[in-house]
């Protein structure tokens, strides 16, 4: 052990905490080294003062008064013993909630709910991003049309509105509705020959409405306008067929 190490030890440890080897070294070394002996002298003096501080046990000015004030304070409390605590429902509930297992279980359930919710939100966001990427170049009407197959009209309109971030105009909405009607009409015409009277009446009404809203066509797309024109011709042909059929029925 060097002088520096011994001096550090003298400052940081008490003599009674020295291990036997260090103590033996200290005894022999102090006789030879003036520097370490000086440090030992200073530390011993410091230790003497600290011992004196330790021996000076602070005394409570009025022990009796302090005891009485403590007892008076606790006498005012409800006795919180285990028996008393378990008497009421809320005390029992408190005891149960204080249990470590219950606290851990509640934390786990809470974490599970949070993680599930976050996962659902993440999946939704992922689906929307995928959809956006797939239909980035499509019009809002066409984008909304993707959802139409599995939705009712209200869901569809809501989806359309959300996809447009609330910026969709009434013209765009009208165009979309006409597109829906056109699609309905196409489906109807596909099976025209097997239609009953009620369906034929509905077809006429839809056609009339379709014609009425036709000025807003062809929706800015060449394909749409060709399709609309073909549809228009088809409908006219069917109407004529319908009128002929009606005239035949009217003859006696």
């Amino acid at each position: 052990m060097t002088c520096k190490e011994l001096q550090n030890l003298l400052y940081s440890a008490r003599i009674d905490e020295f291990n036997p080897t260090d103590f033996e070294f200290l005894k022999h070394h102090l006789a030879e080294c003036e520097s370490c002996a000086a440090v030992f002298y200073k530390v011993s003096n410091a230790e003497r003062i600290l011992t004196r501080i330790k021996e000076t046990v602070p005394r409570i000015p009025d022990e009796e008064a302090l005891t009485e004030s403590i007892i008076a304070a606790i006498a005012g409390f409800k006795r919180q013993t285990a028996d008393v605590r378990s008497n009421t429902f809320f005390d029992r509930l408190y005891d149960v909630c204080s249990m470590k297992v219950v606290r851990i279980a509640c934390t786990l359930v809470f974490l599970f709910c949070i993680i599930s919710y976050m996962t659902m939100e993440y999946n939704d966001a992922k689906a929307i991003v995928g959809l956006e990427q797939r239909m980035g170049n499509q019009s809002v009407s066409n984008r909304a049309g993707v959802f139409y197959q599995d939705m009712n009209i209200l869901d569809f309109l809501h989806g359309l509105y959300m996809l447009s971030n609330g910026t969709i105009s009434s013209v765009e909405l009208t165009k979309t509705l006409v597109l829906i009607k056109k699609a309905d009409l196409q489906n109807l015409l596909k099976d025209y020959k097997t239609l009953d009277e009620a369906s034929k009446v509905r077809l006429n009404a839809m056609y009339a409405e379709y014609i009425k809203e036709e000025p807003s066509l062809p929706f800015g797309s060449k394909n749409n306008s060709v399709e609309a024109a073909a549809l228009q011709n088809e409908i006219k042909r069917l109407r004529m067929e319908l009128e002929r059929s009606n005239k035949t029925k009217e003859r006696p």
């Binding site: 400052y11 003062i49 007892i71 919180q80």
Partner: protein, 192 residues
Amino acid sequence: MQNNIPIDSLETLVEEAQTGNIPAFEKIVRRHQAYAFAIAFRFMCDESDAQDIVQESFIRIWRHLHEFDLGMKFTTWMYRIVVNLCYDKIKSNKRRANVFTRSNNNPFVENCIGHIDLEQAFSDKETAALIRSLAGGLSEKQRMIFLLRDLQDLSIKEVSDITGMSESAIKTNLCYARERIRKKLESLKVCQ
């Protein structure tokens, strides 16, 4: 107040107190309030604060006595409560905390120490002045560790149980605190 506890061992008193027996608890208070006061006084260096802490400690002990595990040492549990309240008091009392941080160059303290007669027993005020001066520059934890180990003579294990720190951390902080305090004593020239 009736005081009819037949056996006076600490364990019995604690068990009795756990059932709501106030006289038993009063005996515990009488037996241990001086120790609690010593810790609080040496840490806070203020008589009034120390009394407040002792009172609050025993009230807290009473309120949580049903949670006390009889397999544990009662005094360790009690010291832990006192120590925590000391920390709380220091935190809530910024003025006092500032006194501690300034104490290195506090002329009042220096003057007070200059008049201490090392050959006679210290008064409480002299002790407080000395501790306040010596503890200047130490963190609250270092001060508490030094106090519990070197002034209250508790073992490293007990200090560890009370403060919740590991034994190695206790030893490291204790070495640092002792070195600072001994060098401080040198610089105050009370060792010569």
